[in-house]
């Protein structure tokens, strides 16, 4: 019996009962899980699923140009909507190409369900064509994964996959489905009949910890909220509750890279991002605070700097949904393992019901100190009227778009990413998509594709570097195919800028292989892809070209030629503490040997 007959037979059977082929189960499970978009690339081992997809309505498949692009696009989709991103790729190279995206999503807690085809079960282990040990390779870069060898397990595993990806600390999961299982017929179970045997994430806070937390907050003289991606992952309500808690307390707020947008950058309590390229006021407040309220952040090394000198005088409250983050890097005084929305709701409830008041006079002094730090103007830079400074380019882009509420920004990784984080201000969650934990160059362009798919009328900008963007440039073709008017705003400094900056500071200005030789002409490249190419060489051209980019309803590659030697400041050099920041190249700064060893 050939596969068409098998599929037709199974389709007939499915009409009368809940019996269907494995391939049909996959599509049915996606529909039952509310999936409307999937990102993928076909190949031999997933053809039955693609065939089932061909015959179904209500699921839009986005054909990417490389499987890494599919996963990043799904990440952009997930992060901008709060829904899981779904990926469908083939066995072997399809699966291995997805690994970078899976690792990226694991590091940044992005819910993804990745479906991979596998060679038929009787060929597993024989080095068959396009075979690889997908579950072995992806075990350390997924929250969980499964190889489904029996049709009877398939629908259960698919629903468990969605449950695990989206609940608790979100993350990517992978289901590997051998081709024979896709053809076999079996009974389909709906999502409501599936409950995982062991997986029970703890999301309700322990109320006695909440009581202690609000007492510590009420007694604080120099408090600080340190918020992270967990607030965003918990859903928009967590961001709203954070604002309410700040309304009640008037405490200052800083955030990690992943948490930008959870608290409005336009509010006076906002200190800017903290960490290696954070603001002077955020890092000094972190160093000097007496009560730190860490909400959904994980004390990443980019945030803490030298751990032994990190916020030495503070009592620390740490809210995280993942118990393994507690005391991992920094010992904390009060852990709260819970979902951020639930915990914040209880904190507000107890703050109000116990009629807590802040230490008014002390808080006033604390704010006076913070205002004094602010006078450093740590994000300032020397502008030029002959050459475009990258900071200026981002400022102008922000000015040209700040009146809109539907602006989504993705980034690649490097200097441009940090400048974007410092200077492009966000007032709402889910509008900032960046590769924080893994630092994946090439993330931004495909992520923009995913965001634009989810928000067809929004303004989606990838703030890019010329080196990063070449890693996944082929996805421009996807943007053209699906009419996605994404704007690729390339800060082209002809260098892997952050590598160059480190070589300047740490390696005696020996710029080993960090110059972007043989760069393509991005305008001609845009032309070849069939999108719009723009270039700006002088500051005077910038505003006009930005407007041109925004006005055109097509994908744009905008080559902004910026100062190749500009470095990203402020900076905490490796191995230094928060109060040992460099504000400009003039600060010099000795890097310790231990610091040089750090990444």
């Amino acid at each position: 019996m050939d596969k068409d007959d098998t599929l037709k037979d199974a389709a007939r059977a499915a009409e009368s009962a809940q019996t269907m082929t494995g391939a049909q189960m996959v599509i049915r499970a996606l529909k039952d899980q509310g999936v409307t978009h999937i990102f993928g690339y076909p190949g031999g081992a997933v053809l039955p699923i693609y065939d089932a997809l061909f015959q179904v309505e209500g699921i839009t498949h986005v054909l990417v140009r490389h499987e890494q692009g599919a996963v990043h696009a799904a990440e952009g989709y997930a992060r901008s909507t709060g829904k899981p991103g779904v990926v469908l790729v083939t066995s072997g190279p399809g699966a291995t190409n997805a690994v970078t995206g899976l690792t990226d999503a694991l590091m940044d807690s992005i819910p993804l369900v990745v479906l991979t085809g596998q060679v038929p079960t009787h060929l597993i282990g024989t080095d068959a064509f396009q075979e690889c040990d997908t579950v072995g390779i992806t075990r350390p870069c997924t929250k969980n994964n499964w190889l489904v060898k029996h049709i009877g397990d398939l629908s259960r595993v698919l629903h468990e996959a969605f449950e695990i990806a989206t609940t608790g600390r979100p993350g990517p999961v992978l289901v590997d489905i051998p081709k024979d299982v896709q053809f076999q017929s079996g009974s389909y179970l709906g999502p409501q009949s599936v409950h995982h045997r062991t997986y029970r994430p703890k999301t309700d806070p322990d109320l006695s910890s909440i009581v202690k937390a609000v007492e510590m907050m009420a007694a604080a003289k120099k408090p600080l909220f340190y918020t992270g991606g967990g607030i965003i992952n918990s859903g928009p309500e967590a961001s709203a509750l954070l604002r309410e808690l700040v309304d009640l307390t008037g405490f200052p707020v800083t955030s990690t890279l992943m948490g930008l947008g959870a608290f409005p950058a336009s509010r006076p309590e906002w200190l800017g991002m903290l960490g290696m390229h954070g603001t002077w006021e955020a890092n000094h407040a972190m160093h000097d605070c007496d009560v730190m309220i860490c909400l959904g952040a994980r004390f990443d090394d980019r945030c803490t700097g030298k751990v032994s000198s990190f916020s030495p005088k503070s009592k620390k409250i740490h809210l995280d949904i993942d118990a393994s983050q507690i005391n991992k890097i920094v010992r904390v005084d009060l852990p709260i393992v819970a979902d951020a929305t639930k915990a914040l709701r209880e904190m507000i409830r107890f703050w109000k019901s116990q009629k807590h008041k802040v230490q008014g006079a002390a808080l006033k002094e604390w704010w006076a100190q913070i205002d004094q730090w602010r006078t450093k103007q740590s994000l300032s830079y020397r502008n030029s009227d002959s050459i475009i400074k990258p900071q200026y380019a981002i400022d102008r882009l922000y000015e040209a778009t700040r009146h809109r509420s539907d602006v989504f920004v993705t980034t690649e990784v490097g200097q441009h990413q940090m400048w974007a984080a410092q200077r492009f201000h966000f007032n709402e969650p889910n509008h900032w998509m960046t590769s924080g934990g893994l630092g994946t160059m090439g993330y931004g362009l495909p992520a923009a594709v995913g965001v634009q798919i989810a928000h067809p009328d929004a303004l989606v900008i990838d703030i890019a570097g010329e080196a990063s963007v070449q890693m996944t440039m082929q996805e421009m073709s996807t943007a053209i195919q699906y009419d996605l008017p994404i704007k690729i705003f390339i800060l082209n400094n002809e260098y892997m800028g952050m590598v160059r900056q480190w070589q300047e500071i740490l390696h005696g200005k020996r710029y080993s292989h960090s110059y972007s030789e043989a760069l393509p002409d991005f305008v001609k490249m845009a032309d070849a892809f069939g999108c719009v190419g723009l270039r700006a060489d002088k500051p005077s051209e910038l505003d006009g070209k930005i407007q041109e980019m925004l006005d055109v309803k097509r994908p744009v590659l905008f080559d902004v030629r910026v100062d190749p030697t500009e470095n990203c400041y402020p900076m905490i050099p490796s191995g230094a503490a928060h109060n040992e920041m460099l504000l400009s190249p003039d600060d010099g700064g000795e890097i310790s040997d231990a610091g040089k060893m750090l990444v």
Binding site: R139, K149, T198, D301, D322, S324, I326, N327, V599
Partner: protein, 175 residues
């Protein structure tokens, strides 16, 4: 560009942990991969299905690290999706730890007699005997097996096979 461990604070301690997991494909690789991926030590590892009806396996791991690292290991193990329960027999709960070993000693004359005498004192049982060798079976706490092996070394020790530690709680309750 490499990483530098930030964790080390206290002294290294040896801990025995038991992880009860779903007996599903790849679960042992998941647990072992967690240890190798995060740079934790495994000194011994014992694993077998313990309840075929419930399809659960029990993995007992002897590991070492600072108290901070041990705490991380426990919470990382709890985070694995197929994990039912994690118990630390060294810090949390009174348990009994036992290990079995098969120890081969070759020799003749006085050394052979001495080996047999020592084995008797350790309640190790010969399970294979030739004119030139013994295989002893010994059960006990790992330290007891360590000292027996040291005693056998000058008497013609040629091979050692150890099972790793199995652990269970004292009293009427399960883990």
């Amino acid at each position: 560009m490499h990483d530098t461990k930030i964790k080390q604070a206290g002294e290294n301690e040896r801990h025995t942990l038991t992880v009860l997991v779903d007996n599903e494909a790849g679960v042992l690789a998941r647990v072992v991969g967690l240890f190798s991926g995060r740079g934790y030590n495994i000194e011994s590892l014992t694993v077998a299905e313990v309840d075929p009806m419930a399809r659960t396996s029990r993995i007992t791991i002897v590991t070492s690290g600072t108290p901070e690292v041990i705490e991380q290991i426990e919470s990382q193990l709890r985070r694995l999706v197929p994990t039912h329960a994690v118990t630390n027999w060294t810090s949390a709960k009174a348990g009994i730890e036992r290990e079995m070993a098969l120890i081969k000693v070759a020799g003749t004359g006085e050394k052979r007699v001495e080996a047999l005498r020592m084995a008797d004192a350790f309640r190790a049982r010969p399970v294979d005997t030739t004119h030139a060798s013994f295989v002893f079976e010994i059960t006990g706490a790992p330290a007891k097996i360590d000292s027996f092996i040291e005693l056998m070394r000058p008497l013609g020790l040629v091979d050692v096979s150890r099972t790793g530690v199995a652990a269970i709680s004292r009293g009427p309750e399960a883990m």
